[in-house]
Symmetry: C2
Subunit: 315 residues, 2 copies
Amino acid sequence: MYEGKYAILGTGALGGYYGAKLQKAGLDVHFLLRSDYEQVSQHGLIVESKDGDFTLPQVNAYDDVAKMPKCDVVVVALKTTQNHLLPQLLPPVVKDDGVVLVLQNGLGVEEEIADIVNQAHIIGGLCFLCSNKVGAGHIRHLDYGQITLGEYADGYAATGITERMQQIADDFQAAGITMELSTDLLLGRWKKLMWNIPYNGLSVVLNARTDELMADTYTRKLVEQLMCEVQAGAKSMGRTIGDRFFQTMLDYTVKMKPYRTSMKIDYDECRPLEVEAIVGNPLRKAQALGVDLPKISCLYHQLKFLDGRNRTIDS
Amino acid sequence: MYEGKYAILGTGALGGYYGAKLQKAGLDVHFLLRSDYEQVSQHGLIVESKDGDFTLPQVNAYDDVAKMPKCDVVVVALKTTQNHLLPQLLPPVVKDDGVVLVLQNGLGVEEEIADIVNQAHIIGGLCFLCSNKVGAGHIRHLDYGQITLGEYADGYAATGITERMQQIADDFQAAGITMELSTDLLLGRWKKLMWNIPYNGLSVVLNARTDELMADTYTRKLVEQLMCEVQAGAKSMGRTIGDRFFQTMLDYTVKMKPYRTSMKIDYDECRPLEVEAIVGNPLRKAQALGVDLPKISCLYHQLKFLDGRNRTIDS
């Protein structure tokens, strides 16, 4: 087992789950919290999980990165809508030769982080996880949990499998998390967008669950057309997603339980939507390379309107 | 004044308003009704209008086209979602050399009617009218009312101004309705779609009034992009809408009172949406001519989903 320290920036449904699993497996984990700090510093974390419930009565909790030790692996588990905080959060906590592990959705985050901590190594992780935070320091893990890792290099060049990736994967695997290693982070990100753009986007705009989107002829067709545009976006950056992958995604979604997407949950809770990371950045990347994605653009404008109005009403 | 008989097929917010105005001006008008037949045949029509309220205690009301006289001008004032009834409704009531006046939104209706009554002359009318039916035989006219007429010829060839158009315009003008005559019905229809597609469509998908769509940067941009696609659709059929017309439409909408579009009202009342006439037909016309309108297509699929679900819940 790797002897280094882990930092978890954002101890919510995702960061709280993975961080607790790592600590339970014996790793040295340090949690950054905001609203739940009092509760967690006194009572620790509770995880209800389909794989078995557990509690950690005592965890290393912080309400300020300045108080945290420098860590070998800093897990970014915030929502991307909080990424404007990263220039303040990352430098104090990342060791010079450390790793920033980005467990976020969407595209373009690794580039932003490379500008902030240019000595560190950056690894992206694509999480397939259904979990919710049901109370302060209280996580409910519903399903899945696997992570695909890929290392970031300038301009998202493919990197191969590095020793660092393998080491982190070993730690997570020791904690009971299924890990996959990818030689091409950018391809992995675009493949995940193939699901995230149509289902997250349409679930919010049409107030619909995944099963409703798949049962209706018109939205099913629109999902496929949006997937085609994601494929074109990937191609604009030199990544090929084969046609068979469409069918895999569609079949996978049909087989899922009726599912409220993460963006729909954020919308229903009047939280900011991850529109820029999931829809805006891929759209602009492709446009900058001369490839127009008109249906994704339509969805983007609709989501920006709904996000803006949703938070105006909330405040 | 023209001595002929008028038939009004569909005595609702639109047909009831124009028909009542014509009868009030002394014309011989015959009204087809369905649910309001009993009320109207006994008590006539009530019109509340910003131009002056009036009642018609007695009108020629029918619940069956077979009982109606053959008419010189048959006004189609149904919603396009009822157009599957036209093969039954039109032949009994249109004189051999008569006129069918189509006061409906969208594209392609004149062609369908030409197949049903191929001896008759067909004139399209683009109505700019805000009115509601507030009770059986009770119309509330809120604003506007003008009609632009254009005669239909095979394949929507431009026709010039015909004597028939002029005669009908004179009758309506005698009834206090502002009339314009167009030499090119198809151009007029596409120009009206320039407003109807973005505002009707987005008002339903985003649950928004026109002023909200104009106040937000993202939806205002999307409205403009949809207008560009309508312009491209018009061009595919050989009709040029100048760029200045965009600005006219945008300015006009900004100046309007906050407005719930007709499609949004239909949606809120769980009535079928005029998606095919307003969005589907223009989309398919352009596609058949090799011009893709991707954002309109996205909107179309979204509206079909919402329309289907809306009526499933209702029934």
